[in-house]
Each structure stands twice: as C-alpha cells, then as structure tokens.
C-alpha cells in the first residue's frame, strides 16, 4: 500500500489522536477480551518464542479480533470531533460560533424553566425513590407497561417542534450585514444564518452511489425488475460483508440500501453495537435504575408514547418496547459522553435541596436529555428490526449519540438541524424558485411545513419500509443531509399541486400524507435528473 504523505504538524496531531484513542479503548470490554485472547493463544503450537510479537499479532488478525479492534477504532473516529487547534477551549469544540452557543444556552434555560414550573404547579418532585411495594409492582409489570393508564392529563410536553422552529428562525449573527435587500445572499426562507451547505452539484459529488446508473434498493428491487440485474448480487455481497464483520465495509455497502433480511445485523455492525453479556448486564443495571427511582421525565415519556407512537398504525404494537427502551435511556450515564461534541449542556440539579454544594450535584435526568414531543419516534422504526429490548436499546443509543441529537440542538454542524433547514430552503429556492415564491406569497413558508419531517428524520411520516431505506443512507453517508434533500424532493414532486393552492391550510393538506411516497426515486430524480 503506498504511503500517504503528512506534514510534521499532522503527524503530531495523528500521534496525539492515537494516544487519546488508546486511552479511551483501554477501559472497554474489548481491551480485556483482547488481552485474554493474547494470553490464551500462547498455548498454541504455532506461536514461537522467537517471533512472539508477530505470531500473536498474526493470530489476532486471523481469528478476527483485529477486525473487532478496527471496528472499535472506526466507531471512535465517528464520534470524535474533528481535530482543531489545541488552543481551542472545550466549549469551542462543542460549538465554534459564539452566537449559536448563546442561543442554545437561552433555549435550554427556557426548557428548564418550563419543566420547573410544571413540577411546581403539580407539586411533584423531579425525582424520588420508589417505595418498595411500588418497585415490586413495576418489576412485575415490566413487560406490559403499556397496559397502565396513569393520569397524565396534567403533564404536558416540555416543548414541541414548532417552538423549536421559532427559536431557529430568530437566530441572528450579530456580525452579519442585513441592510442590503438585494445582496447576493438574498434569501427567501426563514433561516437567516449563512452556514455552509451543499448545493446539487456538490451533493452529486458527495453521493455518487445514488446516481441513476447505479443500482439501489428501493428502486431496483421492485418486483418488475428481474432480481439478477442488481438485487441478488447485492444480497450476496451483503452476506459477505456480514461474514467479514467489517464496520467500514458495511457502511459503504449501506449507501445502496440494506436488504430487509440483513438490515438488523448490518446496522448493528455499522454502529459497532454488540450484544455481549457485558451489554446485557449494563441494560439490567439501567432497568434497576428505572425501578428504584421515579422521574418526572418518565411521565413525559409515557405521555409522548401515548400521543404519538400508540396512535400510529405502524407502531402501536411496539408500545411496551418503547417504554422499556426510553425509560432505560433516561438512566444511562454513558450518554453524557456525547455532550463533548454536542452544543447542548446537560441540566444540573442538587439532591435533597442542597443547592450550590458540589458533593450533592447531580445531572437530571441521568442521561442529560429531556425528551420533547415526538421523541419516541426516534425509537419506533427500530422496533421493526430488533425484538430483544437490550439489542434494540444498544442500537438506538448509538444512533442517538451519532445523529439524532443534532436534530434538536442549535449548532453550526453540517448535519445539525439549522444547516438542514438552510439546505432545504436553498435547494428549493435554487431549483424551484417559482414554487418557493408562490408559497411565500400565500403565507406558506416551505420550512414551516417541512420542519416537522426533518426534526423526526421523517419517522412517522413515511411508510416504514421507505423510512428504513432512508435511514440506510443516513448511516451509509454518516450524515443527515439526505433528510434535507428528501424534503426538497418531496416539494418538487408535489410542485404542480402546490402551485395551485392559495392558502397555508391547503398547502399543508397537499403535503399531509407522505405514506405513499417512494423515497429513493424521489431523491435520485431531484439530485441527478434536475437541470442545472
């Protein structure tokens, strides 16, 4: 393999990165497994004392353990923030732009105030220890929490997507010159911050696997297309990728879609989510946390599931699973790690009212994430893939700390919700200017309709098989951009009908039902068949 040239500075950065990664991987189960494997293999006859190091390394390679280590390193690279200057303080790593940090901080304060006032009104503490009889009862009912009908009428969701949209629309960069009306940045949409987003030619370059001449699941697996044209070969390749257990290869493979029968395993491989005894034990620990302590956040979760997933034709059967995953998710302190690269900060509190005393400081909820209206829809589609709560939980948590958290925090990241909204508006304005202008004139700003789709990554709006095909590409390209592209493609598809409406209500009616849409043809046509 030919070497890549790097400069001295890059080499120092690389060594620093490697050292940090080694430190992170040292505490993991994989590390102790590797050590044990290395020790056990010493009994083998092919390990010679003279070439001990090389023989052990070779053994680890052949037995597949090196591949597992590679997958673990690959996972760390995904969640590691890009290398910045060492002078940058941690808040700069979370979010480089000052005004976005400020906006996120004031949004968070609003949420905290809302939660506090709700608790004060209802007279319930945010968290309390369950008395033993209650703990026993919950433990018995663990698999059928959906049958419970607690009185949740007084609880209300802390915020809904439309509240969040208002905040994003009011984001302003104090250093931006807004005086010129007809400047080159003349923008008809609601988002007024000039982030870098990709246009169609750049999306084409970034996603060559989606081109018209390349096979796709979601298009070329249609019953009318003979399967030996693409589908059977693609499935065979998928089985090979699973056999190799290579995360990077699985991610590349996923760009053209995952076959239904292999998707569960492929996603777990891409996310490096395992189901070892250690993971099962961790899940049981979280379950114990749910049983021992009662949180107000639990009621918010119950309410959210009852209002959204339980009312959905596709997902109501999974109600019990959703409780089992989301309640445990709230207790998982490993999620706190993602705040290193999330612009958000976990809410803090003090136990027993001992304010300002550090030894009584805790994070509330334990995972630092306050759910909003629709949060359970991030989990619901995964229920189609995994039927064991522990496995389902592991995959959901990894998807949340890699992608979903960006959909409800204010940041300048290319996959953040602000960039997605801006990209959607720019794509629409560049390629369907007449439509955009018309909708603006009738008071139906396109983002006000598309926002709710993007915040949920289309969960609950598309039919499940189409949604899973979309999420294949999110995993494959390690980016949520495709969500913005699809939103623009949906508007393009219904452009004719939309040009005839004369009010916001009728525009919303045209776009109310997306369940019959086929996502891959829409995306392909919008990206590769649009005249530029």
């Amino acid at each position: 393999m030919e070497p890549v040239l790097v400069t001295m500075d890059e080499e120092t950065e690389l060594s620093f990165t490697i050292a940090q990664m080694v430190q992170r991987l040292k505490g993991t189960h994989l590390h102790s497994q590797l050590e044990r494997q290395a020790k056990d293999c010493l009994h083998r006859p092919d390990i010679k004392l003279e070439s001990l190091k090389d023989d052990v390394r070779n053994f680890l390679k052949v037995s597949g353990w090196e591949r597992k280590l590679q997958n673990a390193v690959y996972r760390e690279l995904h969640i590691r923030p890009p290398p910045g200057s060492p002078a940058a303080p941690p808040q700069h790593t979370k979010e480089p732009l000052q005004y976005m940090r400020n906006a996120q901080a004031s949004w968070e304060k609003r949420i905290l105030k809302s939660l506090n006032s709700m608790c004060t009104e209802l007279g319930v503490p945010l968290a309390r220890k369950r008395p033993l009889p209650e703990q026993r009862e919950l433990s018995n009912k663990w698999n059928e929490m959906g049958t419970d009908e607690p009185d949740l009428s007084k609880f209300r969701p802390v915020y809904a997507p439309k509240d969040f949209l208002e905040v994003l629309v009011s984001l302003r960069n104090p250093n931006l010159d807004c005086s010129e009306e007809l400047s080159s940045l003349s923008h008809w949409g609601l988002i007024k911050v000039p982030l870098h987003v990709r246009d169609i030619p750049q999306v084409r370059e970034a996603c060559p696997e989606l081109t018209l001449t390349s096979g796709q699941l979601g298009i070329d697996d249609h019953p009318h297309v003979p399967s030996d044209l693409f589908e059977s070969e693609h499935v065979r390749l998928g089985r090979r990728v699973l056999g190799e257990q290579d995360s990077a290869a699985a991610q590349q493979y996923s760009r053209q879609g995952c076959p239904t029968g292999l998707r569960a395993q492929l996603w777990a491989l891409i996310l490096n989510s395992t189901n070892d005894p250690e993971d099962i034990m961790h899940y049981e620990q979280l379950k114990a946390g749910v049983i021992q302590h009662d949180l107000v956040v639990d009621n918010l979760i119950y309410k959210d599931v009852k209002l959204t997933a339980s009312n959905d034709d596709y997902y109501f059967v999974f109600e019990d699973f959703l409780y089992q995953v989301l309640l445990c998710f709230s207790r998982d302190t490993t999620v706190l790690e993602h705040f290193n690269y999330n612009s958000a900060t976990p809410p803090k509190s003090y136990i027993q009212g001992k304010a300002e005393q550090d030894e009584y400081a805790v994070i509330y909820p334990p995972n630092g994430v306050i759910p909003f209206h629709g949060f359970s829809m991030y989990v619901a589609p995964l229920c189609f893939l995994y039927n064991e709560p522990c496995r389902l939980y592991g995959v959901f948590r990894e998807m949340y700390v890699r992608y979903f958290f960006r959909l409800h925090s204010i940041s300048s990241h290319p996959s953040g919700i602000v960039s997605l909204c801006l990209q959607f508006e720019r794509l629409l304005q560049s390629h369907l200017p007449q439509l955009f202008y018309h909708l603006r004139e009738i008071g139906a700003q396109p983002l006000s309709i598309a926002f709710k789709w993007m915040v949920r990554a289309f969960s609950g709006y598309l039919s499940t098989d189409q949604l899973l095909l979309l999420w294949d590409r999110i995993l494959g390209y390690d980016s949520l951009e495709i969500v913005a592209v699809l939103a623009a493609a949906v508007f393009a598809f219904r452009a004719e009908n939309l040009m005839e409406v004369t009010s916001l209500a009728s525009a919303e009616a045209v776009l109310a039902d997306l369940s019959t849409l086929k996502v891959m043809p829409l995306i392909q046509i919008f990206v590769f068949a649009t005249m530029i």
Binding site: P3, V4, G27, P82, A87, H196, H293, K348, Y350, V362
Partner: protein
C-alpha cells in the same frame, strides 16, 4: 520547544480603502495590523496562535534585522493568503483557533495507508481544513510582525484577529555544566562493605519489579465510569438549577 508567550504591542489596525475613507460607503476589505516587541529586542519566533473573527485570508510579513555588518532591516513574507475561511461568505472557520509555526526540518513523513481505515470518517478526519500552517521563512531576529487581513465578502460588518499569542524559541546554547560534586561517581570496582545487609543487586531487582507493577497499575487506569447517577443511593431532586 517554545517558551511562554512574549509581550508585544499591537498598533491600531489600519484599513486600506480606495478613495476618501469618510465618503466611501463601502466597507474596507483589507486591514493591516503591526505588532512590535518592547525594548526593540529581536525575537526568534516559534509559534503565533490566534482566534479568527471573520477574516477570510491572512498574510504575515516579518521585519527581520539583517546579519551583522549590514544596516537596516528587511520585510519578508512569512505566510501568503492563508485561507482561514473556506468560503468567505459562509460561517465555516469564522471563529476558529489557528496557529502558525516555524518549519521543523524536513516537513514530510510517510504514514502507511492501512492506517487510513475505511471510507468516510478517517479520511475526512485527516483531510479536515488545516488549523496549523507552516511558515515560509525562518522567523529569526524578528523586530516587527505585520498581519494583513483580507475579507472580500460584503456580508460581514467587521473582521479581525483576536487573542494573538506569540511564542519564542527557548535558548538552546546555555547548557549548564555538571557541578563538580556530581561528577565524582562511585567507581564500580570498589568493593562494598556489606555487613549483614542483603545483596544490593537482589534488592534493586525486587524494587524494580515492584516499580514495574505500580507502573502497570497506573497505566491500566481506565476512564470508564461505573454508571451510577445517584449520590450514595439518593436521587431526590426537587428542581433544576439555572446556573
């Protein structure tokens, strides 16, 4: 190796404009700041680090005092139009931290391509926009630094560079002599007078073993958390804190 930061005095930035500054309604796109060092002492710069504020391109010029025997000083270009923002109209790079450092020997090293595992994450990671830049000339005997900031986009109201820190090189030529009392080490062939004391070799080897064990213990400390969210079993929380 670099010393701590060096004191400097930054003069008021001068904006370059065509025509009369008072009547010109266009904002300037070029800004020049001079930095001088107190006492007029020339500095050997190791690194200059700073925080960007909406500057698109940076050029650095250094005023170097000439070698002995020649009068006057000469301006040389140390960095030419280094891009701080990938696109002057977008936010990317607008508030990032950067550093410019002295070149270190032959600047290229080979990294085996196997290290570049997989597709997206690693390669993108390595090819991220550079936040460090090497200097084109050796910044020795510098008496003044001139920063030329360019921002061609009309989108921004202001642009400049903040938190400028200059590090100089540590002096390598003052090597202290070993004090005389250190140099008289015990010669190895002198017999040691042991009376009932254990053999120093075995003592030292067992101490070495114990040290090795403590090193192993220290190095295998993990950052993995236990996962407890309560404090001694208690998690009674009433209200969230705003601070």
């Amino acid at each position: 190796m670099s010393n701590g930061p060096v004191d400097y005095v930054a003069k008021t930035p001068v904006c370059l404009q065509i025509g009369d500054a008072a009547t010109n309604s266009l904002r300037p796109g070029v800004c020049v700041t001079d930095i001088v060092f107190p006492n007029g002492k020339p500095i050997k710069i190791q690194k200059i680090s700073f925080k960007n504020y909406y500057t698109a391109f940076l050029s650095l010029r250094l005023l170097r005092s000439e070698e002995e025997g020649q009068d006057g000083a000469k301006w040389v270009t140390c960095l030419r139009n280094f891009p701080l923002m990938a696109n002057p109209h977008d936010e990317a790079g607008s508030q990032d931290y950067f550093s410019v450092s002295r070149q270190q020997g032959a600047a290229m090293t080979a990294v085996p391509r196997e290290w570049c595992v997989g597709t997206g994450a690693c390669l993108r990671y390595l090819m991220c926009q550079a936040t460090t830049a090497p200097m084109l000339v050796e910044p020795d005997d510098v008496t003044s630094v001139r920063l030329i900031l360019r921002q061609p986009s009309s989108a921004w109201l202001n642009f400049n560079i903040e938190e400028i820190t200059i590090y100089d090189c540590v002096n390598e030529d003052t090597e202290r002599d070993v004090p005389a009392w250190l140099s008289s080490l015990t010669p190895a062939d002198e017999p040691l007078h042991l009376q009932g004391l254990p053999d120093p070799e075995t003592v030292s080897s067992s101490i070495q073993q114990m040290w090795a064990l403590t090193e192993v213990m220290q190095s295998s400390q993990t950052t993995a958390s236990v996962g407890r969210f309560d404090v001694d079993g208690c998690y009674d929380v009433n209200l969230l804190s705003y601070t």
